[in-house]
């Protein structure tokens, strides 16, 4: 199904948010996620089902002022 990951269209076979992170190579990485603008905590990722058109944000620590 087609979703948006970090602003770019992405075709995924993943059913859950956890599976998507795995598919993208973020297993074990320090990242946080949001689905359609709502925070999706680490503990909820395995139960968070993806739907077509979902907008996913995957963020990591970065330099900041």
């Amino acid at each position: 199904m087609k979703i948006t990951v970090n602003g770019a269209t992405y075709e995924t076979g993943a059913v859950t948010l956890a599976a998507l992170l795995s598919e993208l190579g973020h297993d074990g990485a320090v990242v946080a996620t949001a689905v359609n603008g709502e925070f999706a905590g680490r503990a909820s990722r395995a139960e968070t089902m993806l739907r077509a058109e979902d907008e996913i944000e995957i963020v990591a620590p970065m330099q900041g002022g």
């Binding site: 973020h26 320090v30 990242v31 963020v59 990591a60 620590p61 002022g65």
Partner: protein
């Protein structure tokens, strides 16, 4: 000692981590600054995992992190970003920025107050990046903030303290509240001036990161902040319009007055 939400720190310098020539220079600049608190952010993670290496570097400094919501323009964006930051950085601290205008990066203070209330109710300890407006400051405190961070000047402008009078007013009005001048400073003398007003700390990034020698500039700001605080604690003299001789007048040679 300065204190923020029950955490005491010896250094009154909070330093940003963005825009340095290299990760190595960032690490050296943090060390030279003596800062115990560094600001960080969240950005979209690419396939390369750039964020992981940065996070390892910051953890090695041993500094406490203050994540920001830089770039957020709505309450919703800021709240979601704060929630993500809390999970990633494992801290309830959040430097709350809600930007209202692109040319000045001026905070949208109405959204800022609302976001501060939402986040405080959710258990966050909010460091609001705000203007120097007294009433906004009162509303941020009413929303649950226990620290205020008024701007010196627009972010990255290097102008220094645009309105020392207003900053002095804030200091006088909120005598028991930790106040941090955040943003707009360019020179160590700007930081010293803010500290001489009685501010509790300085938060800056660009003035160090974009200096010709960031490590040297970090040390210069460290010393200025220490000096400014020491001056405040030592009790500066009152400003006068007219001269007052410092050398005793009585006994001046050729003096015509009465002894």
């Amino acid at each position: 000692m300065a204190g923020f939400y029950g955490i005491d720190v010896a250094s009154r310098f909070m330093i940003g981590t963005a825009g340095y020539p290299s990760p190595a220079i960032l690490g050296e600049a943090i060390h030279a600054s003596g800062a115990e608190i560094v600001t960080v952010s969240l950005r979209r993670e690419g396939a390369g995992g750039a964020g992981q290496a940065f996070w390892d570097l910051i953890r090695q400094t041993g500094c406490r992190v203050l994540p920001n919501t830089a770039g957020c323009k709505t309450v919703k964006e800021a709240v979601t970003t704060a929630q993500m930051a809390r999970e990633v950085f494992e801290t309830p601290w959040i430097k709350l920025e809600v930007i209202g205008e692109d040319d000045t990066l001026q905070p949208d203070v109405f959204a800022l107050v609302e976001a501060a209330r939402v986040l405080t109710d959710d258990g966050f300890q909010v460091f609001p990046y705000t203007t120097d407006d007294l009433i906004v400051a009162e509303k941020l405190l009413a929303a649950g903030c226990e620290v205020l961070m008024p701007w010196g000047a627009p972010i990255g402008s290097g102008r220094g303290l645009n309105n020392p009078y207003q900053l002095r007013t804030l200091r006088a009005h909120f005598s028991g509240v930790p106040l941090v001048v955040d943003a707009g400073l360019g020179l160590p003398s700007h930081a010293a001036a803010a500290m001489e007003l009685g501010y509790d700390a300085i938060l800056l990034n660009t003035a160090v990161a974009k200096a010709g020698d960031p490590v040297g500039m970090a040390a210069a700001f460290r010393d200025a902040i220490t000096a400014g605080r020491a001056a405040f604690e030592a009790g500066p003299i009152e400003v006068r319009d007219m001269a007052e001789p410092s050398t005793p007048v009585a006994g001046t040679p050729f003096w015509q007055g009465a002894e």
